[in-house]
Amino acid sequence: MTATYPPATPIWCAGCGHFGVQAVMLAAMRDLGIPAHEVMVLAGIGCSGTIQNNLGTYGYHALHGRVLPTATGVHLANPDLTVIATGGDGDGYAIGMGHLVHTFRRNPSFTYVIMNNGVYGLTKGQNSPTYQSEGAALDFDAVSLGLSISSTTFVARGFARWTDQLHRLTVAALEHARAGRGFAFLEVLSPCVTYNDTYPVWEATLDDLDARESYDPSSRAGAFSAVSELADEGRMAVGLIYRNGARANGELARPAAEDVRPDRHAAAYADLMATFRVRSGD
């Protein structure tokens, strides 16, 4: 067995929500029996942007804010890989915000786990776009944003401390993307114990939609309604908020698997060249 890189020890503070995320990601890959070499974990910049070093899969550290286009490129070039994009709220909701909208719109089949803690931990605690001075509900709510885009197929939110649910949501997200059903968006409320300890306020005000017997995650209108009503009450929804099983990608090209030797395509290349010919007859 060839030795490859030793997984790193997490750099996170004791009590950081990201530990829970890492644990369920590893558990979900194990549950689904995905070999490490078929997984590529891409990470943004920030505390969360080190998770790829700890897992033993293929890992990539993206430029700040660019994890989604990069993951889109990996997926489109080799759809056989299980692609997991990760990052924090500074990376995804500030510098990289524009890409999130377009990734929902394109609906490429990979998973995005975004760890939301309201602050820039790595640079010592500046506020992020999801920082709330009081209360739980976020002024900027990526779940509502995702629901508002008609091509969105999967929106979930978990809480780092509620690991059983987070585990289920992570498995569901990976299954959705691996089945070619599109972009699986999973926001994890993952408190920063050092700069913005939101464990108590979130624990007290989150509302678990999975626990509602009547909740139907296949209804976009129902999802919007539930999320909006909770927000009006200063609360936030967690759970499998929306999943549309109807959309699935068709057969995808596999550029990374193409045999590109020129002799293999000589005739087709010559045909292409002929389209530029100056026809002396006309």
């Binding site: 990539y60 490129g73 193409e258 020129p262 292409l272 006309d282």
Partner: protein, 590 residues
């Protein structure tokens, strides 16, 4: 001293101009067929306003028996559908040029035309609407007059028109023929009799040739060299690469995708490149500005990518449809930090094809960024060239590891320090090859490492990769008299004007030796040697700062020999104009 302007009908310069939608291109295309049948080569350019639709549009066309890479000094023939066309084309018209003017709105504004010009004023649009009930037929009418001026037989003109409109409904095709005949009738009334016009076209043996733009040639070269992933964001003058590959890549199992901005474009391409797929992105200066972080990341993280810059007039939004060469500094020196990069500089479409293929191979070999630098004229002007030698393209795979290779190793380190600087690479999906790719400084395993010794080792390793490929970097194209005292250096759109100016200068008794560097960075020794071998070297470039001349001087070429020849008005050099600039300077030098 002045330079004689060469004007023969082995070399015909034409401008067809009017409001967008006038069908200027139709007349140009019909004339192109006539010339093509006689073995003429074409150089075609567009002069368009930077707006969605309409505005003034001109088709510029040069047909010549000799291969030419630019428009000639003066227009022989101006087909003008309105006053503005005369205003814009008039100053370029030769003293004895011909103007075919649509006089539906009144006589031609003579003040813009040389005194010796012959003007045919015909109410094309009015005749077309009156007799054929459609304004567009004025193009066929105009073509009838043009064919008489060039002594093209009426039967041939009708044949060309019939073939051209063969795909249209019968009534429309017939109406065009009637318009052509109306053009003949008008010509008869004005002394332009069939087969004996004032000019006659030369002819030469024909051969199998293609008419292609630099952008299209880059796309073909990328494809043939195994390129299968392309991403871009619409921008003039690069967009044709995106649209061509969107149409063509899927048939080869590839993907072309329009990104939401250039940040996404370069990062999508980075993602695809990491899977081992040969990838490329293309943009212009403003997009390159946005991609700078991505390009330096490619250099650090060691990811192979080809990035095309179709330069236009800057800075900022500048003049989007006009050529310039003012991104040289950005490509050679831009980005944060030190990293290895290569900049290749093609000129003709043939060169674009070969250098796109070379760029793809070099990117794989150095696992890093390779720029292709074009300019608006190289990108968008179409030129008649011999069909590309497809068989000449070979793939250099670089140091890749498959599962069996990995299994042979005791351990696998993505950033292994090697003598040549290249670390063998297992792409995602390879069993056993799991690795970490990062733009952070790191150790061989890919874990972040900021120790002083490691930093130097890793940076030196990356920079060494250029030495690995240096001997294989594309060499310059040369022309002229190698023994000449005076040399001339230029890239991209300058080549056609430089080669032709060299001929003119030789005829005027001034010998010139020419060099078109095809590798711009690293600057090759051949460029420095070239400067050393000549007393005076004119560096011809389209920018105001002399970016190319400064680059050459910065690597040790003797600066006292270098002379800047600059142009930054958005207009390519005419050969006589450039020859005049050199003659003037040579006069001062002697």
């Amino acid at each position: 001293m002045t330079v004689e302007t060469q004007r023969k009908l082995a070399d015909l310069n034409v401008m067809v101009a009017g409001q967008g939608g006038d069908g200027s291109l139709t007349v140009a295309n019909l004339l192109g067929v006539v010339l093509g049948r006689r073995g003429f080569r074409m150089y075609t350019a567009r002069d368009v306003a930077s707006r969605i639709k309409g505005g003034h549009a001109a088709a510029l066309m040069r047909g010549s028996i000799a291969p030419r890479g630019c428009m000639g000094d003066a227009l022989d023939l101006l087909v003008a559908f309105d006053d503005e066309a005369v205003e814009r084309g008039g100053p370029w018209l030769a003293e004895d040029g011909f103007v075919v003017f649509d006089a539906s709105g009144g006589p031609a504004p003579r003040e813009y035309l040389p005194e010796g010009a012959t003007v045919f004023e015909i109410p094309f649009a009015r005749l077309a609407v009156r007799d054929l009930r459609r304004d567009l037929f004025k193009n066929s009418l105009g073509f009838g007059v043009v064919s008489r001026i060039l002594s093209v037989g009426d039967d041939e003109a009708a044949d060309v028109l019939t073939q051209r409109f063969a795909h249209l409904r019968r009534q429309v095709a017939d109406a065009n023929l009637r318009a052509l005949e109306a053009g003949f009738a008008y010509a008869d009334e004005n002394g332009l009799t069939a087969g004996s016009g004032p000019w006659a076209l030369d002819s030469a043996p024909n051969s199998d040739r293609i008419l292609i733009s630099g952008n299209e040639a880059v796309a073909v070269g990328f494809l043939v060299a195994g390129g299968r992933f392309f991403t871009g964001y619409p921008i003039t003058p690069a967009s044709e690469i995106l649209s061509f590959l969107e149409r063509r890549l899927p048939a080869f199992g590839g993907v072309a995708i329009q990104a939401e901005d250039e940040l996404a474009a370069v990062n999508m391409a980075i993602g695809a490149a990491m899977t081992g797929t040969r990838s490329m992105t293309a943009t212009s200066g403003p997009g390159i500005s946005l991609m700078q972080e991505g390009v330096s990341h490619l250099g650090s993280a060691e990811i192979p990518l080809v990035v095309v810059d179709c330069q236009r007039s800057g800075p900022s939004t500048g003049m989007p449809t006009k050529p310039e060469q003012s991104d040289i500094n950005m490509l050679v020196h831009g980005g944060n930090g030190d990293f290895p990069r290569i900049v290749l500089s093609p000129s003709t479409p043939t060169d674009c094809f070969h250098l796109a293929a070379a760029a793809s191979n070099l990117a794989q070999r150095i696992q890093g960024p390779v720029y292709l630098i074009l300019d608006q004229a190289v990108s968008q002007d179409s030129v008649t060239v011999e069909p590309f030698d497809l068989g000449s393209v070979e793939l250099a795979p670089g140091k890749r590891l498959d599962a069996d290779d990995v299994a042979q190793l005791g351990e696998y380190r993505r950033y292994l320090v090697t003598d040549d600087g290249v670390s063998p690479w297992a792409v995602p999906g390879t069993p056993g090859g799991m690795n970490l790719v990062t733009g952070n400084e790191r150790n061989e395993w890919g874990h972040v490492a900021t120790g002083a010794a490691n930093r130097v080792t890793m940076l030196d390793k990356r920079m060494r990769k250029i030495d690995l490929v240096r001997a294989d970097l594309p060499l310059a194209h040369r022309w002229g008299d190698p023994e000449a005292e005076a040399g001339m250096i230029g890239i991209g759109l300058e080549l056609g004007a430089m080669e032709e100016a060299t001929e003119r200068l030789a005829a005027a008794g001034v010998a010139i030796s020419g060099l078109q560097p095809r590798t711009l960075w690293p600057v090759l020794d051949e460029t420095i040697e070239f400067v050393r071998a000549h007393e005076r070297v004119y560096v011809v470039e389209h920018n105001a700062e002399g970016q190319l001349v400064h680059l050459i001087a910065s690597v040790g070429a003797p600066h006292e020999r270098l002379r800047s020849v600059l142009k930054y008005d958005g207009v390519p050099f005419r050969p006589g104009e450039l020859a005049g600039r050199i003659l003037e300077a040579e006069g001062a030098a002697s």
